[in-house]
């Protein structure tokens, strides 16, 4: 059972992620006017934001320690923040600054934070075999650390997903496979791309325990992840979890989402953050003043991170030529 202090912490972390994504969204668009240009402004390039998917990151990472690993997909910020990646350095990377996690080389889809064993990739599903390898290293070194591979429901139709599950199960490695099912692979709806409603059924094909978690509820996600992470830590091998969540915004910023129709309204109404806030306030776990105070505090932290990024120096042009080889 989740205690009330944990609930408040869950709310704070989800509010922190949302504040971050909202601030990035505002800043991303702010200097792309009047002609919207994907390559313009202080934050250029593609921007995939995770509003709505905070419960997955927070419920999962509450079970992890710094030495546990995560491979995240192209939509990585919520997982990075929940895993403890430094917000300032991550923001500086997204602003392409020398103080960023990767000195401006990686950008928002290629964040690497080795101290937190956090990485992400812009190629769908391709982080999953990497997590298997991290689990191999943990297992061979005799640690009880766990590697978590996170990918979207669309990625579960990639060969890499199936090969990674097979290997992890065959070798009984400490991996937790998390499928974030937000219902959309860019514009392709889940039910037009995946013939089964419950993707966790695929776990049985590889002889591993699996579960689908409905409701985008941080506490239910926490409990499901707890079981899976504990199993991996104890040497019980991998687990597949398919977690139902929601993509509140476009696939990338600038996506008009005409393909979503009425579903977009339903998604907006299912926003997990105000729902959880209301739940805690009405249960008397948090006063409205305390909730507002938390939101003010996380917004201040985000502002500070963005200020740090904006005031950081750009990399030197000649740095483009270094880091090709170690």
């Amino acid at each position: 059972m989740v205690d009330n202090d944990t609930r408040v912490d869950f709310f704070r972390q989800m509010a922190r992620i949302r504040a971050y994504e909202a601030a990035l969204q505002a800043n991303y668009h702010a200097d792309k006017t009047p002609q919207w240009d994907i390559g313009a402004g202080l934050i250029p390039g593609e921007m995939h934001l995770a509003a709505g998917q905070e419960p997955v990151a927070v419920g999962l990472c509450a079970n992890l320690v710094q030495e546990d690993a995560i491979t995240a997909p192209h939509r990585p910020h919520h997982l990075a923040l929940a895993k403890g990646v430094d917000m300032k350095k991550m923001t500086a990377e997204i602003y392409g600054r020398d103080t960023g996690l990767c000195h401006g080389k990686g950008g928002h889809m290629h964040l690497f934070a080795p101290e937190q064993h956090f990485s992400c990739s812009g190629i769908i599903g391709q982080g999953m075999p990497v997590a298997v390898g991290q689990a191999m290293a943990f297992s061979r070194r005799g640690t009880d650390n766990v590697a978590v591979a996170v990918a979207g429901e669309g990625a579960a139709n990639q060969g890499a997903f199936h090969e990674a599950l097979n290997l992890a199960s065959m070798w009984k490695l400490p991996v937790v496979f998390i499928i974030e099912d937000n219902g959309w692979a860019i514009s392709v709806a889940r039910d037009t791309a995946t013939p089964i409603k419950d993707g966790s059924l695929r776990g049985s094909a590889y002889g591993m325990p699996s579960q689908r978690v409905e409701g985008n509820d941080v506490e239910a996600i926490y409990e499901a992840c707890k079981t899976a992470v504990e199993r991996a830590r104890a040497g019980g091998g991998p687990t597949l979890l398919e977690i139902h969540t929601v993509r509140l915004w476009g696939h990338f910023e600038g996506d008009a989402q005409a393909y979503r129709g009425e579903e977009l309204n339903e998604a907006t109404e299912s926003d997990p953050l105000p729902a959880y806030e209301k739940r805690l306030v009405s249960a008397g776990i948090l006063t409205q003043e305390q909730a507002d105070q938390i939101k003010t505090e996380v917004a201040a932290e985000v502002d500070e991170a963005i200020e740090f990024a904006k005031s950081s120096p750009e990399p030197k042009p000649a740095d483009a030529y270094i880091h090709v080889f170690a």
Partner: protein
């Protein structure tokens, strides 16, 4: 058939030119169909299939799961049975997840079968950078495909060639990799050279695969390029008019490479600049230099200048990416060096 361009010809984006070419081929040939990620109601992430779903519906414009090995392999299967699939690989960078189907199957089946089996399919794919999409979404990679025998590889620089090359590609009995640079598509949401919108006849016409174009005639220096870099070269050639006479060769096709067009121009000018957004080493620019060296190195009065993407992954930060990308200033400097 060659279409005529007159002052009254309407102007469209390269994206529109491509989707129109596919639509016209689909109307006349029921064997043509399209599949790929987000090619349906979305119209292709870079607009290459805009309007097709509305006209042809979901049986001929097929949104796929994120399963490139699966649907590119399925394209091969349909093609060997006589259909003419146009399959979109959203970004060329994603070839890594499906290359076995492409180079060991699509490209080799005709040869392996002693010419008995044809694979008349098109893979169209977005290439190129310049908008901070970083290392996994900004590459050109045409030389990677060109290196493997059995695939034709085309990369238009403008809407007219895009339409004509797409029609040629669909009608070709060999597999064709059709590479459109995002920057030439004329997208409303990406900075673009005005050359990305241009005159395109409404009727069907072909641009021959394997035939370069002299995009700008000149006599002092030959500048060979392809895809978006041609646009930069033309800007420079026009800017230098009156001081340096620049001949810009738009290759349009990488395979087959129009070596004669390169040799003829270099024989005239004696000076060569190659501009290529793909990686510098082991690629197109080296192949062009080898073409001269094989035939007659004495054609060259000065060493060749190569303005290419250096041998580094593509960085995210704008200042780093533009340090590495071919730009007008670098092209001008290279021309100045070979004509000094």
């Amino acid at each position: 058939m060659t279409a005529t361009l007159d002052a009254g010809t309407r102007r469209v984006t390269t994206a529109k030119a491509i989707s129109e070419a596919i639509a016209q081929e689909m109307r006349s040939d029921p064997e043509v169909f399209v599949m790929g990620e987000d090619v349906g109601p979305y119209g292709g992430i870079f607009g290459s299939t805009g309007g097709l779903f509305e006209e042809f519906g979901s049986t001929r414009i097929i949104d796929t799961p994120i399963s490139e090995t699966g649907f590119i392999g399925a394209g091969i299967g349909a093609a060997v049975e006589g259909m003419r699939p146009v399959v979109e690989l959203m970004f060329v960078d994603f070839f890594g997840v499906c290359f076995d189907q492409i180079y060991n199957h699509m490209a080799k089946i005709h040869y392996e079968s002693g010419g008995n089996v044809k694979v008349p399919m098109v893979i169209m794919t977005a290439v190129g950078g310049g908008y901070s999409d970083a290392a996994q979404h900004s590459q050109c990679l045409w030389a990677t495909f060109a290196h493997m025998p059995g695939m034709k590889v085309v990369a238009p620089s403008n809407p007219y060639d895009a339409k004509g090359l797409m029609i040629s590609a669909i009608r070709d009995d060999s597999p064709v990799i059709f590479m459109f640079h995002k920057g030439v598509m004329g997208l409303p949401w990406m900075a673009k050279n005005p050359r990305s919108i241009g005159p395109v006849p409404e009727e069907e016409y072909t641009v021959p695969i394997g035939k370069a174009a002299i995009a700008h005639e000149g006599s002092d220096v030959t500048v060979v390029s392809v895809s978006i870099s041609v646009q930069h070269c033309l800007d420079v050639a026009e800017e230098l008019e009156g001081t340096t006479s620049v001949e810009v060769i738009d290759l349009r096709s990488i395979v087959p490479l129009d070596r004669e067009a390169i040799l003829t121009s270099v024989a005239k000018t004696g000076r060569l600049v190659i501009v290529d957004e793909d990686y510098k080493s082991f690629g197109l620019s080296g192949e062009i230099v080898a073409t001269i060296a094989d035939k007659d190195p004495s054609l060259l009065k000065k060493p060749v200048e190569r303005v290419c993407y250096p041998d580094v992954p593509i960085p995210y930060a704008r200042v780093l990416e533009y340090e590495a990308l071919p730009t007008r200033d670098k092209i001008k400097a290279a021309i100045a060096k070979v004509t000094a």
